[in-house]
Symmetry: C2
Subunit: 356 residues, 2 copies
């Protein structure tokens, strides 16, 4: 195999000569300090690593730049890898070589990192075979590379907090985000209406049109909701029982205003960096519940296998054309251009996915 190398290693002060299966060197997005991602990251070449008996070496094919990747590099994400680190958290690749004890995975198989874990932004990754989840090769690779975090977050939030039935409704802010787009489509598949809140910005009409095509029942900019009673806008859509918040500040207050008596708002992001403010009567008399969702914690609470089944379900929807979202593929050599887009330097952009 191309990445098997015969080398000599100096171990415990003793020179030993033996044959060891090694990975190719790996080009990686590396950082050894927290700070602005566009300044602290650089592309370096990491030396080959040993492929042990149960390891699988994967040549990475694609990996997205998610907001949480940026927060980890900035150092503001509460759980992050120790420094120095390689960026990225989810991605897919092709099996390059396998350790001698590995069964069920062979060179050429397509696999994804499962659960999502640090170090996806590099050309070659060596991990235990249990870390890799083989997926149907008919799946577009850019979707497989992005399915384990945002679409899965959308699915869990639609399913886990409120027992929604066909005809019920969800209200969400940040509706143009990848999670937002998935929520619209996953809800639609179950006959659940969505009320969608987006930022005021140039291009908001196009954004509304796009979300409507995905199945959104209603789309409002924040300023359109500056009315006395937002519920008067609902028309035939019922008051939503579930609200999803990834923005905070005023956009979270708007979600709360739409919620019906006894409704639940789930916070999964804070793009505005503003806190959530809630009146006392929202809790006592409107009986609202506020919770949070963190996919990483959910998966690590014994749900790795469950998450793989759900990912396969989502990939099935993707192959059937029932779940789609905006993606822009960028070659690894132009990583920093993609990073600038993900950092919002050029306004609203599709999800940036690195192609190795």
């Amino acid at each position: 195999m191309a990445c098997a190398r015969f080398i000599s290693l100096k171990t415990s002060g003793m020179v030993r000569a033996f044959s060891t299966l090694m990975s190719p060197p790996s080009k990686a997005v590396f950082y050894d300090n927290h700070g602005p991602p566009d300044t602290v990251t650089k592309i370096i070449e990491l030396p080959p690593v040993e492929i042990k008996a149960n390891d699988v070496c994967v040549k990475m094919l694609a990996s997205p730049i998610n907001p949480s990747d940026i927060n980890r590099i900035e150092g503001v994400y509460p759980v992050r890898p120790p420094l120095p680190a390689v960026g990225g958290y989810e991605g897919v690749g092709e099996v390059h070589s396998v350790g001698e004890a590995v069964q069920g995975l062979s060179p050429g198989d397509l696999v994804m990192a499962s659960p999502p874990s640090p170090g996806a932004w590099q050309t070659h990754v060596v991990r235990d075979k249990s870390f890799w989840h083989k997926f149907d090769r008919r799946t577009p690779v850019e979707y497989a590379a992005t399915v384990t975090i945002n679409p899965l977050t959308a699915l869990r939030m639609v399913e886990d907090f409120v027992d929604l039935k066909s005809g019920d409704a969800i209200v969400q802010n940040g509706a143009t985000s990848m999670v937002g787009q998935c929520v619209i489509q996953l809800a639609k598949l179950r006959g659940i209406h969505t009320i969608n809140i987006i930022r005021d910005r140039s291009g908001s009409d196009e954004a509304k049109e796009k979300l409507t095509k995905l199945g959104a029942d209603q789309v409002y900019t924040e300023s359109q909701l500056n009315v006395k009673n937002v519920k008067s806008l609902l028309d035939n859509v019922p008051e939503p029982a579930l609200g999803l918040n990834c923005v905070g500040g005023n956009a979270a207050s708007l979600v709360l205003k739409f919620l019906r008596q006894g409704g639940t708002m789930v916070t999964y992001g804070g793009m505005s960096k503003k806190p959530i403010t809630v009146s006392t009567s929202s809790f006592i008399f409107k009986e609202l519940s506020l919770k949070g969702f963190w996919l990483q914690k959910w998966i690590s609470s014994g749900n790795t296998e469950a998450s793989r089944e759900m990912v396969d379900y989502l990939l099935g929807l993707i192959r059937e054309g029932k779940l789609k979202y905006d993606i822009e593929l960028t070659p690894f050599s132009e990583f920093h251009a993609a990073l600038d887009k993900a950092l919002g330097k050029h306004g609203s952009q599709p999800k940036q996915v690195i192609k190795f």
Copy 2:
């Protein structure tokens, strides 16, 4: 019976002469406009009312002035009786006379309004027999008059939101309130620690001492918690899984700071009239849940019988000396002096209870 009257009524244009059981006239705290309770309320005499076959006429003995009574008169409480109205919401009395079909209740029995309902501040109340809950006459009347709202709220909040075990902890603000005093004692009975937050004010040392005597593990004024990490104060008390908030604003933020990973804060009041502000990361990474509790809604959701059983349990604790709280009895003739105290015109005061 003293309140049986023979009168003639003109009904449906037809003059009929017959005997009807009537209540005595009732002196009542009456208001026909919302506004400041000390200006819009007046004591008037209401005419006798008919005691129908299933009715019970009760001579009221005692009724408290609760914050929600004040808010109903002010018109800021979302659910309130139509105007004109008689104030008050809970209380006890002695059966004065019963309708011909009433069994199980006799003159002289002690009963309480159950569920709590509008119109307790008057000398005589006529309601269907199902409305009255007979209680053990060995109970001090001022406790029976105050048990159905605040102590029951404390009990439900300690029991219903988090599965607490002996050795666990609760953090609460507004700890000197009647609910607060009950939470301390009900928790203590189950081996649950309490961390208590009170306002900065003159007399805070006495308040601390009093709460400690009731069983509080820790008592802090808000300013004492102006430290970097409030959890460093916990010593041997574990991080609390349940927080109770009846204040809002900074006092609610302090409760949130004490809560452990995955903890729940229940809001049941908003004495500061300030909203609750929560960071995004409190929801996502600290996995906090925020909910509300409203006793009236809980009882009306099919829990009238359950609430009576719990009230009996609480009255038992009271008779055994295991549950006590500050009460000041005031004769009905001095209602407006008691109201001024309840309105906070003379600083912090014990719960004001009207004695009829």
